[in-house]
Symmetry: C2
Subunit: 248 residues, 2 copies
Amino acid sequence: MSQAGKVGSKATFGAALIERPLVSVDVAIFSVIDAELNVLLMRRQPGPHEPYPGLLALPGGFIDVAKDRDLIGCALRKLKEKTAVAAPYLEQVGSWGDAKRDPRGWSTTHVYFALINAEVVALKQGGNAADVQWLPVSAITPQLRLAFDHAMLFAAALARLRSKVEYTSLPAYLLPREFTLSDLQSIYEVVLQRPLEKSAFRTRVLATDLLEEVPRIRTGPNRPAQLYRLRNPEQLVFFPRTFNPPRD
Amino acid sequence: MSQAGKVGSKATFGAALIERPLVSVDVAIFSVIDAELNVLLMRRQPGPHEPYPGLLALPGGFIDVAKDRDLIGCALRKLKEKTAVAAPYLEQVGSWGDAKRDPRGWSTTHVYFALINAEVVALKQGGNAADVQWLPVSAITPQLRLAFDHAMLFAAALARLRSKVEYTSLPAYLLPREFTLSDLQSIYEVVLQRPLEKSAFRTRVLATDLLEEVPRIRTGPNRPAQLYRLRNPEQLVFFPRTFNPPRD
DNA sequence: AGAATAGTGTCTTTAAGACAATATGGC
DNA sequence: GCCATATTGTCTTAAAGACACTATTCT
């Protein structure tokens, strides 16, 4: 504790004259691809003192106190570095921190999850942005070792997503701007991994002010469907009850 | 970024060779006193480079990487320093961090809320543990300035508590080990700030396996009431729906 | 016409809301 | 018996579950 108190260019003093943990942000970026919930993972590169080289990990990294105004800013930066998405749905899952999770020392991480529509995304491969890939969440098993405690962080993010999908309009952020009610129901079913009642679903969704009709219709080899869009994309909608809970 | 990379006794290297934010934990400790929801606040002491001297703040402080095994351990330590409570209900609210919230530099905080039964608690006054006091949450107004961004952190903790009380057994942790159904209902009403239907409340609570009867009865100047205790104190119970929502 | 999906209707079920009725122990 | 609170019951209501039925476009 002697010559400490100065890190980088900023002076510290008073109660702050203590060893500081490492601080990072990790983001679980979800998207639905081919009727499956996917998560974006990147392969960690080899390098001096780089832990877990070659393993997959959630996109993330240390706070840059020069670049990042705040935690969300950091999460958005990580997201932008890996995908071209600028303004996705972003929500904090929580934070974790202990002495052991990073071999480089006592470390904390702030975990966010993001929902995006994958069709609009171009993954930024190569360069210093290492291997980036979509993986179905069903492929994230104990056999597939993730770096650090990212398996646990991912599980927490997925659990939060699934639980909140039961009573909110979250899945709408996984769709393109315009979609049909059937599209929306399918996305719910993909995330929740169970079928929903069509009639109850439609009544429930239309009972809220979540959607507004687009004066257009999707045609196909069958009866065309009304297109909708979010009435207020910034505003997450809460339903009065959960969807039919799985039988116990 | 020249001679950085060493803070205290631990070496850092690689990607960790960057300026680190300050890391703290803050705890909103709730209790019901005289039929009012209270929160524990402490008055910040004057001192060299101590920000916000004299203002009230949530109990909290920097992570001690030597003492604290993890974030929850740190939260429990803060709690134990201010109250004599060892094992309360503790839940993370979230984390916040930006360049401005602490004048000493880029800082992050991990916020928890705790629920305790105040009758069992002895506040640790004086010493280096500064003024500690219970304040009704209704007294936390903009006029009462709190240190740092603690007004916002407190508001987030209170909002989380209130919203989760709508569909969980959280308030049971604000009661002593044995209580009557009327006690429990009163606590819900105190936290939610609205009356609940007696009949629906009882049916709903007894329909879960939240409680078990204690072979004892509370007598008084009226019909005695059955005493209950938590069947599984570690296990938070979720109700299938929310309580009757406030009229809109 | 037939396939396929969109959209509606009807009846049941679940759990809460409103409110009344009954129960019990101390005084 | 009276008071005060505990406990139960009855009827209504809100919203979902189950499932069938109708609608519309394309081939």
